[in-house]
Symmetry: D2
Subunit: 262 residues, 4 copies
């Protein structure tokens, strides 16, 4: 198997441990100053991914190729991002797959858009809308960094533009009042397609639940997901004391045709 | 937007609610007898997805196109399957994406293979190995049903065959002793590629933790995920009393080059 | 140490395992027919607690003296009871102790009253109110069975009677609209005393949160508790698949004096 | 109802909010310097509990009588304490009650001893053993502060002393190898009495599970408890992001007589 080497311009994850890692674009002469000592970034040109170097304080640093998870976790943040435990379940629950067409309302920092695009590309596409131009600019940079920008189109929010989409498989609504967007997205979705609403509060979930059916959505499901780290060590295995207690609730439903009898 | 209609031979999800739903291949004259009355499957030929019919007991049944989630949840089981909360996180945590090459040891009923293939297709591929020929036969049928069989190759477990693979992005090990397979999979993986071990017990997780580093894997993480349903209803929103307390632990790590200094 | 023997009239817990156990009052000639065979209850007179007998199907049954936990879990139910994970935290969080005076609104089946009385007796007392006379009658029987009836006074709900109590350390409100009772209980509580509201839904919790401060309560805290069983077995230790996802939320606060400046 | 006033020498909880509160013994002239300004402790002599004062920065501070929860949470720590979610469940699950006799091995900072004593007093008693004399000294001060010292006897660990106890209702073992103490405590326990082992790791729980039955204990149960705070606010109710992921596992069992047939 041929090895893959680091080139000038490559994005590399300089990894010490899960808390100490840096995603850096390699340039000749570049040096990174850290609490673990200086990482000679320029000197890693030509090295193979998976190999390691040492800082001037003799700390071992592994050279890893970043993956989508790294891009998401290291993306520049605007507001709260959607976390892997949540966006993984979104993909799993909605049957998101290669080729899917996605409509996202609320781009934020494009963390979720990045993940969604990595799955639906190259046949599928993500159409994402936001109102905040500052966020949109940060999102654009994050998408370029991960290389997903070809598979994501960013728009300033406009119902007119949304109404011209069609055949959407998955709609993500990450705004404070998702129920107000159900009538906008319903016409452009495939029958059986899924809508997912990101709802940090129980009140949002409750409002959403009163709108799904009347707006032409069935199979509604409301969940929260948790993740707990385990400290696995010989003879002393125990869960971690630190845990995130809440990120967001998720509301799911599937589109059906609307002309319903009473 | 043109509508999509049900044809003879289509797989249709006949949906009453999340507990009462049937995935059936449509044939003329076929009738399905349920506790909710008879569903006239043959009469749905020509109807549009998203529309609904009634049973002879006047229960409304929606006609949905199955997605990957439905295929997984309705697949014929052999042993315990990996659940959406877990396989979603696997995809999210490892940066699985379109085009990835996957090696799975322990096919089981191919629930996980189906999901993985739906993401990596058409450019990527899943190579999956098992020892039990009865399971392999059930897995084959499940893969055909979901249409993912073109993107999954099934093999009877043989280290020789595995050794000829290369450039693997993601390895999944779903066997009782995953640590015994780390040396087999390491040489065929890309640097920075991920291995994920499905470990129902904490003893497996602990054994795994003692092997990762010496076998050339870093960035190890051990987690368990939970999902809780919320009953969202106007004025009476509360979590569901029913919850699954445990499915499995997951152990993650990434490959690095092995010639390490002491 | 002298041993304690079973007498006629004793309540005995006939224990096979945590799912198969029976709390029976011993009478000569009494026999209990179970799926594990016949337990000759009469023949246990004179046996020592902690010893065991066999059913006629040769199943080993241990003879245990019931404790408060057994009385609560085996009490005749009216509505949903408050579970040990919740009432334990109530005691811990409020500093309930021997000698405390308790006011409970919503007796239900007296499961909680039984536990509270067992802690505050003999110096303390539980005053409990309900509106449903059928429930009150069942509660009376449960209290007699556990021997806690001397330390609990049952009343038909009447604000007049409540207003004559004083020096209350702990108030428990287990009704659908606990916020409507805060003004009733405030005057009869000690400064610094705790009120605990049993709120199955988040809507109740939210309503409660808007009333506490204006009604003269501070240090409010809203929690939910979980308990997960672990199947500890050599080499195969893992959490149990079965788990209760939700029982109730709990709302806590402490009384302060009400004449507050704006 | 007569009001209760603060006297010189009283312990008072000066409460701003759940994160900013101080338990102070009142002395004339004493002033407490805080980030919220100066609290004039001496000036609170004669004030009623439940009333409030202001700091020199105009922050409102309520004057509360400390309860057992406050003593435990404000006790001087030696090692990790057992938390209210856990000790509350211990009381609930074992039927601890007024008059019970408790044997504790591993006093630590006496947080748990304080709680246990507050329930079993005045008729019951806590016998607690430790090997570390420094811890024992800190424990003594904590017990004196809460006023529970009359109901707790502290000993330097000595199996000889333990063997002279009898009629113990509840045994708590808070040491790294609890299984090694089962034979020591069994003879001094009442039949049906409970033993509870504090086990931070799964390995300890597993070792314990292999010893209970052979040492004469049945009805074993292994659990972990969780508590999650809810931020209840009108229109924006959601769980708190912060949560403790793990404190300890708990192992429970009840004593039976040991002369068992094979």
């Amino acid at each position: 198997m041929k090895c893959v080497s680091i080139e000038e311009g490559s994005l590399v994850l300089y990894f010490y441990n899960s808390d100490k890692k840096w995603m850096i674009r390699v340039e000749k002469e570049k040096k990174l100053h850290t609490h673990l000592g200086i990482i000679d970034v320029g000197a890693t040109v030509g090295l193979e991914y998976g190999s390691h170097i040492y800082t001037n304080k003799d700390k071992k640093i592994f050279l890893l190729p970043p993956n989508i998870y790294d891009y998401v976790m290291k993306s520049q943040r605007t507001t709260q991002i959607v976390y892997p435990k949540d966006y993984g379940y979104i993909a799993a629950r909605t049957g998101l797959k290669n080729g899917s067409l996605v409509l996202e309302i609320g781009t934020g920092s494009a963390a979720l858009s990045t993940f969604l695009a990595s799955i639906v590309m190259p046949g599928g596409h993500v159409h994402t809308f936001d109102v905040n131009e500052d966020f949109m600019s940060i999102a654009r940079k994050n998408l370029e960094k991960s290389g997903m920008n070809d598979y994501v189109t960013q728009y300033k929010f406009d119902p007119e533009i949304i109404s011209k989409l069609h055949g959407i498989d998955l709609v993500i609504i990450d705004l404070g009042d998702p129920w107000n967007y159900l009538d906008i997205v319903h016409p452009v979705m495939k029958s059986g397609g899924s809508v997912v609403c990101i709802c940090p509060t129980m009140n949002q979930l409750e409002m959403l639940s009163t709108h799904f059916f009347h707006c032409g959505f069935i199979d509604s499901e409301y969940v929260e997901t948790f993740i707990r780290k385990i400290e696995a060590r010989e003879g002393k295995t125990r869960p971690s004391m630190r845990m995130i207690g809440h990120t967001t609730y998720l509301g799911f439903a599937r589109k059906v045709l609307k002309k319903m009898e009473s």
